[in-house]
Amino acid sequence: MSTATASADTHTEHDPHATNTGISNTKLAMWLFLGTECLLFGGLISTYLLYKTRGNGKTLPTDIFDIPFTSVSSFVLLMSSLTMVLALSAINRGDIERTRGWLLTTAMLGGVFIGGQVYEFTSFVREGVGFTTNPASSAFFTLTGFHGVHVSLGILMLMSLVVASVQGRLKPQNAETVEIVGLYWHFVDIVWIFIFTVIYLIPAE
């Protein structure tokens, strides 16, 4: 769908999708948006790293991490990227049925991850590490909470696509829409891999 960049000399045919970069406006906008999101998560991750040992005499989040549990939910989220890819390849083949199935699977895997996060948060609070306990816990809940909200919005977008497909509004020519939602979804995934490594796996000194 994307032709070469338009130039005065070569551009003679009439292609409604031609852009100067060859990338559609929407996709370019999503890339830029994800670029800005890097800075957002960069700020939040830096905040957590600065504060992760500041417990004000109370329990630190690092003290009560359940690494095996979080590893499993991280794996679930990672798998959802795979199903997202499968959804995209399905719609590229024009198979709306399968697209819907994979989108639904992706959303459900995301839902499992969110469920895991809710469980983790409640067990943390039960163990005395709440949002207002100390700078470390405030930073932990803010960072993972922001990520959780991003995943939830991704689920909302996926479900919107599923509903659109049920209504027959999602057609093979909308493959790019699925691709763009997929970009967002993969980004949220990658951010989690980063968070998981930096927050959970690198021990506090």
């Binding site: 409604p16 999708h17 990338i23 406006n25 957002l40 700020g43 100390n134 700078p135 829409t177 763009i180």
Partner: protein, 672 residues
């Protein structure tokens, strides 16, 4: 989008059957009157609305400044209480930066970028409308704290923790500051992405990046800076709100938090912000000076690259705002040196402007006076900037009036004067009549003299040791004389602004008896001047094919074999007529406005009652879905093969982006 090379023959927005997404609102059909403005997605109308609103807040911020200067006219005055003084200087800074200069630059960016690159609109017209409505709702929200928040924020525009915490600032002012800036930030972020995509993707055939006017270049750099600086302040503002409203511990030193966290986050945003403010003006100066020197811009590529260099280096200097905060001598040194070297690309720009003027035919019209005045004043601000890049000297200067003098020379001298020149320059293009030149020159001299009287003495005051942000001062430190001069100067600036507004109204009236300015009253150089004035709604009758820098100039003039300038075509011959009929345009929509209205409700909800958040969330969320279901273009409008927005193949394309970005935006506020 399509690149159109022939006149279009489409009816736009003329359908008889109105579509009712969600059965709530009739799709607006365009036309005249206020409804048209509320639903417009036309980048030119949005630009004008940005400009008018920015000027309104210029007056608001100016009145705040006058109150401050009145209090400081004489020592030990009680005209303002210390609390009110603190609120006023905070709101003065916030208003001037976020509600005046940034939106004024956005006004020019919206209006001029599509014209300068030969596009029919921005990449996402409805998102563009959304940016404006979100920004204005944030601006009104921010200022509503005077009425319902127990006064303005009293923490300074920089709002250092822990002074911004609930303990030390118990009124709601800081809440309004944080949420208001978050809302305005969402607007700028959306707008930045939109404009970047526009410049990268929607240039006319042949308009390569290095044929773009320098103004478009500088605005592009500005949008990149915005896109990457705003998320950082977003983080900081969220942490502040969480601390104040939900008792988190980000900025409580007693719990072991570090006040420097705020400072770093704020200035990582705050320093690029300076270039966000100044670069648009640099771009305008780079258009005005060549036009009135009758020479091409000297060293175009150096101007572009120095602008990009400033954009990059601007990220590596933020801690020069923190030289005395105790960040460690080596950090101080590193940031001191990086700050000094950002002077180099800035100096290149100044010298290139001078070289453009050198040997030219200098016609000092009002825009030229403002542009040249801006170069001179910015030079002073830049030089004083070098003096506090020197870290040891900065330990004497920081937080004194010397700094106030410096950044007003940069922001007012470099930014506002340049943009005033831009206003006079593009006024006929935007409004179809010229501003009176004699009055314009009087305005310029009043403003320049007032400006120097106000801020020049602040250099002296600062070096004499007068601290910033003090609501009064004692006799005997030698502050009396210069403060009085400064206050007198501030009133002259106020008069000059009033005179400018008078000039716009009076010139509009007089224009009825004058011949219309025509497409190109200044014999200028870039594409927008090939269009009739004011610009027709569809911009270009046909999208031009670009063959060089200064395309418009080269359509008028060429060279003979001896390299003498010869005329190729008159303006009338070369200009477009603006008479294309039935050009298909994106349809207007009310949903951006509705979506934007939800955000301040969420803000009030966070401060006063969480139920308002639910209401605001429903309003914004509903608007997002209605928006997503509403096609970019009215499906009842007849579509032909020349659709300018390339949606006919996949309708939901733009829609879903609107969804994605807008949901993200909603999230940022809705989640606080």
């Amino acid at each position: 989008m399509a690149i159109i090379e022939e006149p279009l023959a489409l009816e736009s927005g003329q359908a008889d059957i109105a579509e009712r997404p969600l059965g709530v609102m009739t799709r607006p059909q365009g036309g005249n009157g206020w409804r048209d403005w509320l639903s417009s997605v036309d980048h030119k109308k949005i630009g004008i609305m940005y400009g008018v609103a920015a000027m309104f807040f210029f007056v608001v911020g100016g009145i705040e400044a006058l109150l401050l200067r009145t209090q400081l006219a004489f020592p030990e005055q009680g005209f303002l209480s210390p609390q009110l003084y603190n609120e006023l200087f905070t709101m003065h800074g916030v208003t001037m930066v976020f509600l005046f200069i940034m939106p004024l630059a956005a006004a020019f960016a919206n209006y001029l970028i599509p014209l300068q690159i030969g596009a029919r609109d921005v990449a996402f017209p409805r998102l563009n409308a959304l940016s404006f409505w979100i920004w204005i709702s944030g601006a009104i929200f921010l200022n509503s704290s005077w009425l319902v928040g127990g006064g303005g924020a009293d923490c300074g525009w920089f709002c250092y923790s822990p002074n911004s915490g609930i303990t030390f600032s118990p009124t709601h002012g800081v809440d309004f500051y944080a949420i208001g800036l978050l809302i305005a930030g969402i607007a700028s972020l959306i707008s930045a992405i939109n404009l970047i995509v526009t410049v990268l993707n929607m240039r006319a055939p042949g308009m390569t990046l290095f044929r773009m006017p320098v103004l478009t270049w500088m605005l592009l750099v500005t949008q990149f800076l915005l896109a990457f600086a705003l998320p950082v302040i977003t983080v900081a503002l969220f942490l502040l709100i969480f601390d104040r409203v939900f008792d988190s511990q980000f900025f409580d030193p007693e719990a072991g938090a570090d006040p420097l966290l705020w400072q770093h986050l704020f200035w990582i945003f705050g320093h690029p912000e300076v270039y966000i403010i100044i670069l648009p003006s640099f771009g305008m100066i780079s258009e005005i000076i060549p036009t009135f020197s009758r020479k091409p811009l000297f060293g175009y590529s150096f101007m572009v690259f120095s602008g990009i260099a400033i954009g990059f280096m601007g990220w590596g200097v933020w801690a020069h705002h923190m030289f005395v905060s105790g960040i460690g001598p080596i950090s101080v040194l590193a940031f001191s040196l990086s700050t000094m070297f950002i002077a180099v690309p800035t100096g290149v720009k100044i010298l290139n402007w001078l070289a453009t003027m050198w040997g030219g035919k200098l016609w000092f019209t009002t825009p030229m006076l403002f542009a040249v005045g801006s170069v001179a004043m910015f030079t002073i601000g830049g030089l004083s900037g070098v003096t506090h890049a020197i870290a040891p000297a900065d330990t004497q200067q920081t937080d004194t009036y010397y700094i106030v003098a410096h950044f007003h020379y940069v922001i007012f001298g470099g930014g506002v004067l340049g943009m005033m020149g831009g206003a006079y320059f593009w006024w006929p293009k935007i409004f179809g009549y010229m501003l009176n030149e004699t009055r314009g020159k009087i305005h310029f001299w009043m403003m320049l003299i007032g400006f120097n009287l106000t801020f020049g003495p602040m250099h002296v005051l600062g070096l004499q040791g007068m601290s910033r942000r003090i609501d009064t001062y004692s006799e005997g430190f030698g502050f009396e004389f210069w403060n009085l001069i400064s206050t007198i100067g501030s009133y002259i600036i106020a008069l000059s602004v009033a005179y400018f507004i008078y000039n716009t109204l009076r010139s509009r009236k007089e224009a009825r008896d004058l011949p219309p300015p025509g497409p190109d009253p200044w014999d200028a150089r870039s594409l927008e001047w090939m269009l009739p004035s004011p610009t027709p709604e569809h911009n270009f009758d046909e999208v031009p094919i670009i063959e060089s820098q200064d395309e418009w100039w080269h359509r008028k003039y060429g060279y003979d074999e001896d390299h003498n300038v010869i005329r190729i075509a008159t303006i009338e011959e070369a200009a477009q007529k603006g008479d294309a009929v039935g050009v298909h345009l994106p349809s207007p929509s009310f949903w951006p406005l509705v979506l934007a209205l939800g955000l301040p409700l969420i803000g009030y909800g966070i401060i006063f009652n969480l139920w308002l958040c639910v209401l605001g969330g429903l309003l914004s969320g509903g608007a997002i879905y209605a928006w997503a279901l509403e096609p970019v273009d009215d499906p009842d409008a007849d579509h032909g093969p020349h659709d300018d927005h390339g949606h006919d193949a996949d309708h939901s394309d733009d829609d879903d982006d609107g969804d994605a970005v807008a949901v993200g935006a909603d999230d940022s506020a809705g989640d606080a």
